[in-house]
Amino acid sequence: MREFFDRIFVSGTPAHRVLFAVWSSTPFFIMILVGHGWALTRDDIRGSLHLPSMWTIQALMVLCIVVNLGSAWAVWARRAERARADGASLLVCLSIGLGYTVITVLAGSYTTGATLILIGVLAIGLLLFPMRIMVMAYIVCSALLVGHDAGVLLKAWSYAPALGQGMFVRDEPVWWFAFWRGYVFYAGFVVLMFLLMVLFRRLDEMHASLTQLSNTDELTGLANRRRFMACLHDELSRQGRSGQPLCVALLDADHFKRVNDRHGHHAGDEVLRTLGAVMLGSVRAPTDVPARLGGEEFALLMPQTRLADAQRVCERLRATVAAQRFRHGDAAYGVTISIGLVESLGDEAEAILAAADRELYRAKAEGRNRVRSRARVREAS
């Protein structure tokens, strides 16, 4: 279902969209044609119908089917191309829109569910076709609705011209009119309800993936800097309430430039991806946030964690990375990381990161491949 939706409404070419509109509307046109044809053969029903209106509808349905199929035929050959198909799109929109609009005005625009079908058709059209084509079709169909109604108000013609005498007996619709009215209403209502649910779900999903994408690092799948900073601020404000300790580690791959220079960027990327995977594996709770801040610099946020526990996590992380072997062609090599870790008891985010950076620098200066940590006591302000 979702794949189908994506194939047509998201990645479909303009020609695909035209074809979808034709395939999904033509069966209904044929149904209307056949249903009305059947009604016209029945003596008990025919008497209640205004025959010129009915034949207008029949002729219009034939015309709509021809226009639909013609448009489908015109775009069929280039259905896989991304080229615009504005002409065919507009023709199909107008044929479907006008087809239903004419039925609506002939059957009574205000007293049937046909308007629901019109709205449903508008919803599908808006999903399929460019806005300006839909605006054009919308204007044409609305003009027809309003123009017809103006004629009714000026008494140029009567309201609901297709319906004659004998549709109602003692204020109740006769069986076939009750059936028609119920069918039109519920078909319009159910289809529209379903469409709207799909549309809204789609909007929600898109919003979720937008948020997700703008929060993750593409190469490693970890949180990116933006997300990390947001989490850090959140956790700090939570810490302000709970008073629990919080640890932040900054990680940096040692001599990463050398990997890039010796083995190429592909190898470098592979190292970064592995680092990301190792960090994801070392996370203990869903509250821990591993992130790639940029380049070869990573960070790990550990809320509600004491320094001793955080040290264990970092030490394990360092050892896991150091034990990892990478292969590039015939060469096998290892990569080490240095980690600067601080515990915070209510500092500013920038101060914590700066402190972690100082520890990281010390770890590098002391010969790399090690964890340096420091407990910070809140400085009296």
């Binding site: 808006l126 806005m131 309201y159 005498q165 109602f168 809204f200």
Partner: protein
């Protein structure tokens, strides 16, 4: 097309789905509809043309309940407005607004007759507005109870327990010309329903389009330079490689890296480093064919250009031009000017896995770096095995 500010604000509010601001917006959307219907329902006592339309016993009850419902919603809206800054969820308030308003509007619709009046569309409007502002889970109770009411009503009517349009003495449309009052009423209610409903549909379609564009931009472009990102480049590379296999036209790839970029960052600051990257991106855009070549930021200070229909000689010429232009560019920082150079690896694709061609280009780039930087190394890629 420029987006009006109020529309962006609305989009944000809707996307945030904070319970209290949603309650306010919901009341703003549904309230006027309820109020208009309530006002229209005064006609039977105010105007002789509408006399006798409603059942005498039903009208006071309807008008009273309808009025109470509006006051109830208004009360919650005021309550929510006063606490709009607070985004903590308030599930009970949401239900207190959603369930009675939806059920009330649905009952009025059923009582006037849903199949022969424009009231059927009100069922949809409440759903659309509700679903736009709340999640499906929040709407569940209102929706299920509404469906139950609808089904029970249809069943009771089928069994002749209640008449069609139970609030009215006679249904609105009975095959005869509409009475003068209903003639006005159907037009007003249709306007009340159709205009917001189609407006909301256009708005939704616009939102969907915008999200799609934003998503694509986020997925396929590099935020700093506005060039294509690595993902966009790779998918285009594979597409072009397929085309190459079919048509056999030549295709080349440039890969370049700014020399001593770390030094630029350290010496002149990160902002200047970003400016250098942006300038290189501008050069790439200027000196490649629009819509044919694809320049992209591959990561860090590394850029790539995909050159379809281009031989190794052509690609070398492009590389030469880019290198010269970058070398001639003056950058100003801290009152002094400096220049940067870059190294380039060039390769002509020879079929097979395009990833191998990219690796070959990468090797050429490092060859250029190893030879002392600020130069170009170009080779034909080995023709690999066919793509699997």
């Amino acid at each position: 097309m420029k987006t009006p500010a109020w529309l962006s604000t609305l989009e944000q509010r809707v996307a945030q789905r904070a319970d209290r601001s949603s309650i306010v917006l919901y009341t703003l959307a549904i309230g006027p509809i309820l109020a208009s219907l309530w006002l229209l329902q005064w006609a039977p006592v105010l105007h002789p043309a509408a006399a006798g339309a409603f059942r005498d016993s039903a009208w006071p009850l309807l008008q009273g309940a309808h009025g109470v419902l509006m006051l109830w919603m208004l009360g919650w809206a005021v309550w929510a407005w006063q606490r709009r800054a607070d985004t903590t969820p308030s599930p009970w308030a949401v239900q207190a607004v959603l369930v009675p308003s939806l059920l009330g509007l649905w009952l009025v619709s059923l009582g006037m007759g849903i199949q022969d009046t424009p009231m059927g569309m009100f069922l949809l409007i409440t759903f659309v507005v509700g679903r736009g502002l709340f999640s499906m889970a929040q709407l569940r109770w209102a929706l299920w109870s509404g469906m139950v009411v609808l089904v029970v009503h249809e069943a009771a009517q089928y069994m002749d327990l209640i008449p069609y349009a139970f609030l009215l003495n006679r249904p609105v449309y009975v095959g005869e010309p509409l009475t003068p009052w209903w003639d006005v009423w159907v037009r007003l209610t249709a306007l009340l329903a159709l205009v917001p409903l189609s407006g909301v549909l256009f708005l939704l379609a616009w939102l969907l389009q915008r999200r799609q564009l934003a998503l694509r931009a986020l997925v396929l472009t590099d935020a700093l330079t506005g060039l294509a990102n690595r993902r966009a480049f790779m998918s285009q590379l594979y597409r072009e490689a397929h085309r190459h296999e079919r048509h056999g036209l030549p295709m080349s790839v440039l890969i370049m890296d700014i020399d001593h970029f770390k030094h630029v960052n350290d010496e002149w600051g990160h902002a200047m480093g970003d400016e250098v990257l942006r300038q290189l991106a501008r050069l790439l855009r200027q000196h490649t064919r629009e819509r044919v070549d694809l320049p992209a930021r591959y990561g860090g200070e590394e850029f790539v250009v995909l050159l379809p229909d281009t031989t190794l000689e052509g690609a070398q010429a492009v590389a030469e031009k880019l290198a010269v232009r970058l070398r001639e560019q003056d950058f100003m920082a801290k009152g002094r000017s400096f220049r940067v150079t870059m190294s380039l690896g060039v390769v002509q694709y020879g079929g097979g896995d395009p990833d191998l061609a990219l690796r070959e280009a990468d090797r050429n780039l490092y060859e250029a770096k190893a030879q002392g930087r600020d130069r170009i190394v170009a080779t034909l890629a080995p023709t690999g095995a066919t793509m699997g």
